[in-house]
Each structure stands twice: as structure tokens, then as C-alpha cells.
């Protein structure tokens, strides 16, 4: 199934929650969705018979300078089709529903997105830092991040 067809199905089912479909070469096509019902959209994508996206390839946090984002790359092992969903979040209110109950692999990915970008996944059972130390301050992969001068008395810059 092409991404255009998947987009039509989603648009029919969820209406305004699905915002746009972009397919400009040489980019991969992607769907932009609203954040409020992303968990329902994902559950639908996984359980619908002819979509069957049972494999979350990767979940990435993004920093688009003026806003944040979450990108879901999905794959269906049965039907061998791929789908990319993008969700934009404002920097003041980076909340998004979790999808860890739909794909268990999202657990660590979401923790990483929180660690690196400060995106808060509502409903996640254990949203703590994963790569940085637990007492780290700031979100390193944000574009405006400044390397700290000191950590526990150790000088950090070269």
C-alpha cells in the first residue's frame, strides 16, 4: 500500500487530526498529525488488518529551532510498507501521549527523546534520563544547548 493510500484511510478515519501529506522528491513522503490523538492513530495503524504496522523502526525527537517534533518511522513486516508520521510540538508545552503500550520498543526511544530534547510523554511509566546521568541538567541535543562548564567538579570543555 502506498503512503498516499494510507494517508487517505487515516484522513477518513481521523479527519482533522491528520494535518497534511508531503511527498516532495527526493525526500521520503511523510504525514503530519496532531499530537492529541497520536496514540489512537498509532493503535489504529498497528491493529487495522490491511495496515498492520507492527514494527516501530525508530522514534526520534527533533528540534526545528522554533518548535520541537517527534517522528515515527513505522514498518509492516507482513505487508512490507513503510510510513513516516511527524508531530510538531511547541517549546513551551512539549507534551505528547506515549505509544509505549503499542510498541514496547518505544519505551527506551521515548526516554531518549526526553533525555535529549525534553519532550514529555504523558502516560509513560518511567520517564527518566537514559543516556545522560540522572542528575544531568538541560537537554543536550536542543540547538541552543550550551556545554556545561563543570560536572561534579570535573571541567568539561577541552
Amino acid at each position: 500500500m502506498t503512503q498516499q493510500e494510507i494517508y487517505n484511510i487515516l484522513k477518513e478515519k481521523f479527519g482533522d487530526e491528520i494535518i497534511e501529506f508531503s511527498h516532495e522528491l527526493p525526500s521520503d513522503p511523510y504525514i503530519v498529525a496532531n499530537r492529541s490523538k497520536i496514540d489512537e492513530i498509532c493503535l489504529f495503524l498497528r491493529d487495522e488488518e490491511n495496515l498492520n504496522f507492527d514494527y516501530l523502526v525508530i522514534l526520534s525527537g527533533m528540534d526545528y529551532i522554533e518548535k520541537l517534533g517527534v517522528v515515527y518511522h513505522l514498518y509492516s513486516i507482513k505487508h512490507k510498507h513503510r510510513l513516516t508520521i511527524k508531530v510538531f510540538l511547541s517549546k513551551d508545552d512539549p507534551h505528547i501521549p506515549t505509544v509505549e503500550k503499542i510498541w514496547r520498543s518505544a519505551d527506551w526511544h521515548e526516554r531518549e527523546a526526553w533525555d535529549m530534547y525534553g519532550i514529555i510523554f504523558d502516560g509513560h511509566h518511567n520517564l527518566i534520563r537514559i543516556l545522560c546521568p540522572y542528575d544531568w541538567e538541560g537537554f543536550p541535543l536542543r540547538k541552543d544547548y550550551k556545554t556545561p562548564e563543570e560536572y561534579h567538579g570535573i571541567k568539561v570543555p577541552y
Binding site: 543516556l131 545522560c132 546521568p133 543536550p140 556545554t147 561534579h152 570535573i154 568539561v156 570543555p157 577541552y158
Partner: protein, 177 residues
């Protein structure tokens, strides 16, 4: 170098070795070093290669120890991150004196390729513990690593044991006065 060379010396009538006790102790220490292997990153794989059949690291008389309390020297092979730094200090402090540190690879020496933007990388393990031998390379070849080991052995061979204690005692005395 060492005691064995003197065996070849004809003036010592073969089999008789003249030397100081310090020489003997250093010879023993340098030829049976037990190491705490601190495998961190890519360098650890080269270290494994150095340990395996082609390079045979154990011919130096070294034996890997998993516990710092039984180790003579520590091999820090790879990138040290800030999260790891405190553990390294702790393990170093658990080692019994005299202890040595071999810093393997650019990352452990100075941060390596991560020196500029590595917000979470310690720029050189010598910021937290004293280092005896630096081995450059990213990663160092096993040959380079073996040379580092030879350097460490020659350092141990030249170390003073008794004089040092005397000197330190005098220094302490001076400090107290």
C-alpha cells in the same frame, strides 16, 4: 636492563648476580604485572586482539584481574564519559599501591575526536587520575600497545623504592617543622 643481562657479564663468573635489592624487587614487579582491564570502547577490541593469538599480551607476564584489589596497573582503553568518570576514580582508589595507569587511545589521552562537541566526554583521563603511559592512536595498533607495555615495564624497572621512602620521610619532617 634488568638482572638477566648481568648473567652474561663474564666478570661476574656466570650465575652470580651483583645488584641491589631494589633491582631484584623491580625486576619481579615489572615481569609479573596483573592488570585491571577497563574496556570502554573501540580500543578494548584492539586490546582483545592484542590479548589473542597473534600478539599474545600475556608473554609480558600479565594476568587479567577483574578485581581492582588484586591489580598492579589499570588499562583505560577507550572514551571516558562523565557518567563513567566517578567509577574510574573509585576503582583506582581501590587498587593497592604501587599502582600504574596505562591510558590507551586518543580518547583516554585527551578526548580524541570528541574533544570539541562532546558535552558528555571527559577530555582525557588524566584529569581525574594520574597516568603513567600514554599510547596514541585511534585506536592504537596492538604493536603500539605492546610498546606501551614495554615502556611501563622500563618505568617500573627504574623506580626507586627505599630511597623514595627515605626522601619522603625527610620531606614530611621538613613539613612538620
Amino acid at each position: 636492563m634488568g638482572l638477566l643481562d648481568r648473567l652474561d657479564n663474564p666478570y661476574n663468573f656466570g650465575g652470580i648476580i651483583l645488584g641491589t635489592l631494589e633491582d631484584l624487587l623491580n625486576w619481579g614487579r615489572s615481569k609479573s604485572d596483573w592488570y585491571l582491564h577497563f574496556g570502554l570502547a573501540c580500543c578494548a577490541i584492539e586490546f582483545m586482539a592484542a590479548n589473542a593469538s597473534h600478539f599474545d599480551f600475556m608473554r609480558f607476564g600479565t594476568i587479567p584481574r577483574a578485581s581492582p584489589r588484586q591489580a598492579d596497573f589499570m588499562i583505560v582503553s577507550g572514551t571516558v564519559t562523565l557518567k563513567m568518570a566517578e567509577r574510574i576514580v573509585r576503582l583506582y582508589e581501590q587498587m593497592a599501591d604501587p599502582k600504574y595507569v596505562l591510558s590507551m587511545g586518543s580518547c583516554a589521552n585527551c578526548g580524541g575526536p570528541y574533544w570539541e562537541h562532546g558535552y558528555h566526554v571527559l577530555k582525557g583521563v588524566d584529569r581525574i587520575i594520574p597516568v603513567d603511559v600514554y599510547i596514541p592512536g585511534c585506536p592504537p595498533r596492538p604493536e603500539a600497545f605492546l610498546e606501551g607495555m614495554i615502556l611501563l615495564q622500563s618505568k617500573i624497572n627504574k623506580q626507586e623504592i627505599f630511597k623514595k621512602r627515605k626522601r619522603l620521610e625527610e620531606e614530611m619532617k621538613n613539613m612538620n617543622q
